[in-house]
């Protein structure tokens, strides 16, 4: 039964991905058909609307069978799942947390552990140095007001994506790589600390608590003042006007 459930879950994964892909493709197909040269006048104006109830329902009709098949597969998987005992959750403590716990239980760091700590510092610095050009390029682009002057927002956004997203992706890659290296180093340090002499359990250090009550009262007072000011300066009416009218572009209608 468990094996069957595993296979069914894999089928569900494939089916979900295929269904989403099919929906994306149908949506793109409607758009492409609407923008085909046959539907455009000489001045580039659409002869008939890109989307219409008829075109959308025709494209959705093509997905009727896959939808039914998906629903049937889902039902079968749920039924099988109901008769299978729940799988035990695999839990693994993050390396950072494990290391923190281990450090609290040993008398001192071993040589290997100290080496790993130095290595992690170096990795951290290297990552920071590698991130600097990305941050600089992004800030240079965002800081240049010329890039955000045009009211042609499609062009502004397109340019933003072309110029900023590669650096954001690179930043992400660097962070992931650094994180992987740091994690591995922590794993090695944790392994090294296992052989270190154990210390007697120490009482927990008392942390100085935040003056929460005073802070909360102050923040509530600020919130109240801001709300009252907002009601008086017309901010409340602004929210109402936006909420009771539909900005067609803001919800993606166009």
């Amino acid at each position: 039964m468990a094996k069957l459930l595993r296979y069914l879950r894999i089928c569900m994964t494939v089916a979900t991905l295929l269904l989403v892909l099919a929906l994306c493709l149908q949506c793109a197909a409607i758009y492409m058909e609407g923008n085909s040269p046959e539907n455009l006048s000489d001045s580039g104006v659409h002869l008939s609307p890109v989307f219409s109830v008829e075109t959308v329902s025709a494209h959705l009709k093509a997905l009727r069978l896959p939808f039914l098949a998906y629903a049937a597969l889902l039902l079968i998987t749920l039924c099988v799942q109901a008769f299978c005992p729940p799988a035990k959750e695999k839990t693994k403590l993050p390396a950072k947390y494990r290391l923190h716990l281990l450090k609290a239980r040993v008398t001192g760091l071993t040589e290997d552990a100290q080496r790993e700590e130095k290595l992690r510092k170096r990795i951290g610095w290297l990552a920071c140095i590698a991130l600097l050009p990305c941050a600089a390029m992004t800030l240079v682009y965002l800081g240049n007001g010329e890039h955000f002057v045009s009211w042609d927002l499609e062009q502004v956004m397109g340019s933003l994506i072309r110029h900023v997203f590669p650096y954001l992706a690179l930043t992400l890659l660097i962070l992931v790589a650094a994180s992987v290296c740091l994690d591995r180093s922590m794993e090695r340090e944790a392994a090294a600390l296992k052989s270190a002499p154990k210390a007697a359990s120490q009482p927990k250090k008392e942390q100085k608590p935040l003056p929460l009550t005073a802070l909360r009262i102050a923040l509530y007072a600020i919130a109240a003042v801001l709300i009252v000011l907002g009601v008086l300066n017309g901010g409340l009416y602004d929210v109402l006007v936006k909420a009771i009218n539909i900005c067609t572009e803001c919800i993606g209608l166009g």
Partner: protein, 497 residues
Amino acid sequence: MAKLKNRLKRYLPTQRRLIQLYAALLYNAHLKGFITGNIYTGKIKALCVPGFNCYSCPGAIGACPLGALQNALAASGNRAPTYVLGILLLFGLTLGRTICGFLCPVGLMQDLLHKLPTPKLSKSRVTRVLSFTKYALLALFVVILPLWYSLQSLPLPAFCKYICPAGTLEGAVGLLSHPANADKFSMLGILFTRKFIILLLILAACVFIYRAFCRFLCPLGAIYGLFARVAVIGVKVDVSRCTDCGRCVSRCPMDINRVGDHECIHCGKCMNDCPEQAIFFQAGRITLHSPEIAASAPNVRRKYRTRRIIAWAAALLVLLVAFWYVNLYAPGTQSPADGIASPSATEAPADDSIPTGKEIGMRAPDFTVPLYGRDASFSLSSSRGKITIVNFWATWCTPCCNELPFFDAVARQYGDSVCVIAIHSSLVTDNVEGYLARFDYLMPFALDESGTVIQSFGGSTMLPQTVVIDENGIITYNAVGSVTLEKLESLIAQAAQ
């Protein structure tokens, strides 16, 4: 039998799920909207709800805090966005990310999608890094772009326009799925295609990754996360009991470093995982729930059960009152100019057999509106003999402001042969004359003081709207949605035929 009972128990909704459902229902109590295909326009919509819920959803009875924040920042050239900031501070301080765990309809949707029986991707260092993306989105799309474009007099709620899946699902799809809005399909284009694909990708990600949108993309979660240390209500840890075993962190599907940090949505799952029973749900100093209560003496349990029943009864009463108020009682919002005698729409003289109305092929209803910056008014009847383009707009509407230059270009290009008039909505939030003074528009601008002109052309809550009327006063085009210069030229050519 007991085995079956236990198995069935697994499928019963938890208290958290019931609260999520309740919140989703309360935020969308305008059930009439789903039947009529219109949004709620009552005055209580000025209040923000704590969770992520698009205010263009036909059922929504409150404003989305993120949409309100973007619009407030976009209008910050006129007034400081104190109301929305105050509301966010109030929600964040009281509930923090408990809102994400209990009171967010998008969170509920993600939780339900994750229930689909597929293999799941658990948290890792990659997801931990990705969880910071939401802060970048908050900074760029919610703060920087709206603020920057507000300096250029263009209101731009960038997150709503380019990313927000709640807007696409609840607003766009919610409205389009009603037959009464079938004509709105004609305005769909690249924006909808792109946003719909983004929505599908986010929904697909939520099937495999627990709360993918909440963890990686939601700027509202990022805002509430800033209040993690000071929020009054939420999951708290008794440090004196905690043995640092780390079970809570390792079992949590969110990218937390410790219970109650900026990534914790206070779902409370860890309360049952803690072997020391050191985690409990608190509101200030009052313990709302803890595993100890379940194991306590019967009279203590009874006391908590009674409290819970009273709380649910009160909550259901609130829901029923909300249903009654927004569906049966509440009148719609009236414009500030209501009650003032207005020139407004008047019937055209019935000089032929063509009926007067809003549809294409009908005679356009006559109206007279006061002009901005001139001590005069504009009457549609005075433009008879010319092609007339009527544009309904507002300073707070992004696409409206964006397309004004096209109408002005038409006015300059066609001169006296085409009459162009831009009529501002009756809902005025800014100094319209001050706004117009920043531009060199040639065409006349007027005010629809009581909202009756747009109503006579079939409009109500959607902007922008463009109406083209031929030389004989017959409507040749009447649609909601943005237009381009090319489109306007083609509409003029069509009207001239």
